[in-house]
Symmetry: C2
Subunit: 229 residues, 2 copies
DNA sequence: GCGACTTTGTTCAGGCGTTCACAAGCGGTT
DNA sequence: AACCGCTTGTGAACGCCTGAACAAAGTCGC
């Protein structure tokens, strides 16, 4: 009676589970059969105790005194994060960034497959990118209905991102990854994650200034471990 | 005697300040002179009270009963986040993703300027991308010394990311933005921020499954406001 | 078969971040 | 000049997450 699943998993933990899963995939390729929490944590760049806490949300999945079975834990994590089934995605805005994403092989290996590339630019529509032909954005609704895409990725200019988002939501897409520098408004029940590269650079600039300007009162204290977050 | 700065600013707040700054830039272009915390928060996709708390780290910068001066607040934020000075950046790995970043105009407008593009591939070296010529990666050390670059952006394959990172650190770069799916190890005093797109998709997949699988016990409760994080 | 060592799983405390609610302050109006 | 409404700034409570210490448990060696 494996009835220990119903525990809720914090979103921060989910993000780390995805990292562990990738590390485990690498270890499995390398032929390793077992790992300790310490080694896995080091490879993932986190605290060993935190890693064990994260894994404990899935119930016991290691063997005391030995560690974790690489393949066993990988399968468990795969399952917890949504199974192995392929997740069809649509990508809207096939410019420089969109093309890079469409071409990227690293998504397919995790089960994320682009089933539709959409753009308005007549010069772009019709081109093949990453094995797929770019289609006019007018076909968005039909394409989502046809392919049952569940994830929408927005790489259009910021001005049109909200309207694209609205169209995605209207045809049932409830998971959206947004690269445009705007805050999207969506109804409850729809999840949006935003990737904002300018903000990342700006935070680095701030930390840089803080380091040079006020060295005595650096906020907390960085772990001497030297492992980045 | 504007001596109220020494307060420390949480990193989460810094990231939001960068968002506010972008919204303010847009409002200034639109000719607005004042904004209320409510309007600004709505545009940034955050809670109004939280926004005011964020701004309070900079000391009082609004007028009660009126709101915030758009240009005044923008200047204050610009200053807090590292000033207006141009921040020279080097980009290593001019593949699909690297090219997209090098070509992007949105960074320069915030003061981030790429002063060096580096790659190993002989087929890529010499090409012009975004107004800059790609240089062989052997010149990394010389280029950083010459341009005084303070930020390094890594878009190489994961296998070589750590070695590239080490070289950047060895010549004094203390701010690194990493797109490769590995946890970089750096000495104390160096800041690394990681952008992991596979993880973002994986989190969306998890939320999707959670929604369909266990609707009754959704973790906290989503804000009815419908504003995404 | 037993003991000791290794590593997990969990509990506890501390810190951070977020949210709500209210008092203080300013402008406009009478 | 005083009042009223609007908006900021802040204090406090709450919840989440992180980091560390401890006990349970299984394996390996003898
Ligand atoms: N390129 C980067 O490195 C980078 C970095 C940070 C943020 N971004 C953001 O990502 C987004 C895309 O950036 P980019 O550099 O690829 O820009 P881009 O101009 O190269 O590409 C945008 C694409 O969207 C298409 N498009 C425009 N309107 C559309 C619509 N209504 N429906 C469908 N497609 C439409 C355009 O035809 C174009 O192909 C922008 O919002 C940008 O701010 C990009
Ligand atoms: N393209 C995407 O959408 C995407 C998405 C998520 C993550 N990533 C990650 O970003 C990184 C780059 O992705 P990409 O799609 O641009 O790959 P890519 O293969 O197109 O580009 C990588 C570039 O790095 C260069 N390179 C290799 N070794 C180098 C070295 N030692 N020094 C300098 N340059 C070197 C290569 O010549 C190539 O030009 C990868 O780590 C990838 O996992 C990419």
């Amino acid at each position: 009676m494996p009835q220990s699943r119903p525990r809720i998993i914090p979103e921060a933990t989910v993000a780390r589970l995805a990292v562990y899963l990738r590390v485990l995939a690498g270890l499995a390729d390398g032929g390793r059969s077992h790992v300790s929490s310490g080694e896995l944590a080091s490879a993932a760049g986190v605290n060993p105790a935190g890693l064990r806490k994260d894994l404990s949300y899935l119930g016991p999945c290691g063997v005391r005194g030995v560690g974790y079975s690489v393949s066993g834990l990988r399968d468990r994590l795969t399952d917890a994060l949504g199974g192995e089934r392929s997740r069809p995605c649509v990508l809207i805005g096939i410019g420089r960034l969109g093309s890079a994403l469409a071409d990227y092989a690293g998504f397919a290996s995790r089960g994320f497959e682009f089933v539709g590339l959409l753009d308005t630019d007549p010069a772009t529509v019709g081109h093949r990118v990453g094995g797929l032909q770019v289609r006019p954005v007018q076909e968005l609704e039909a394409l989502v209905a046809e392919t049952h895409a569940t994830i929408g990725v927005i790489t259009t200019p910021a001005e049109v991102a909200q309207s694209v988002c609205d169209r995605l939501v209207s045809v049932g897409v409830r998971s959206i990854l947004n690269f445009a520098p705007v805050a999207l408004t969506v109804p409850a029940g729809v999840d949006v994650r935003k990737v904002d590269l300018s903000v990342e650079l700006q935070v680095l600039a701030f930390l840089d200034q803080q380091r040079d300007g006020t060295p005595p009162l650096l906020a907390p204290l960085r772990a001497a471990q030297g492992v980045a977050r």
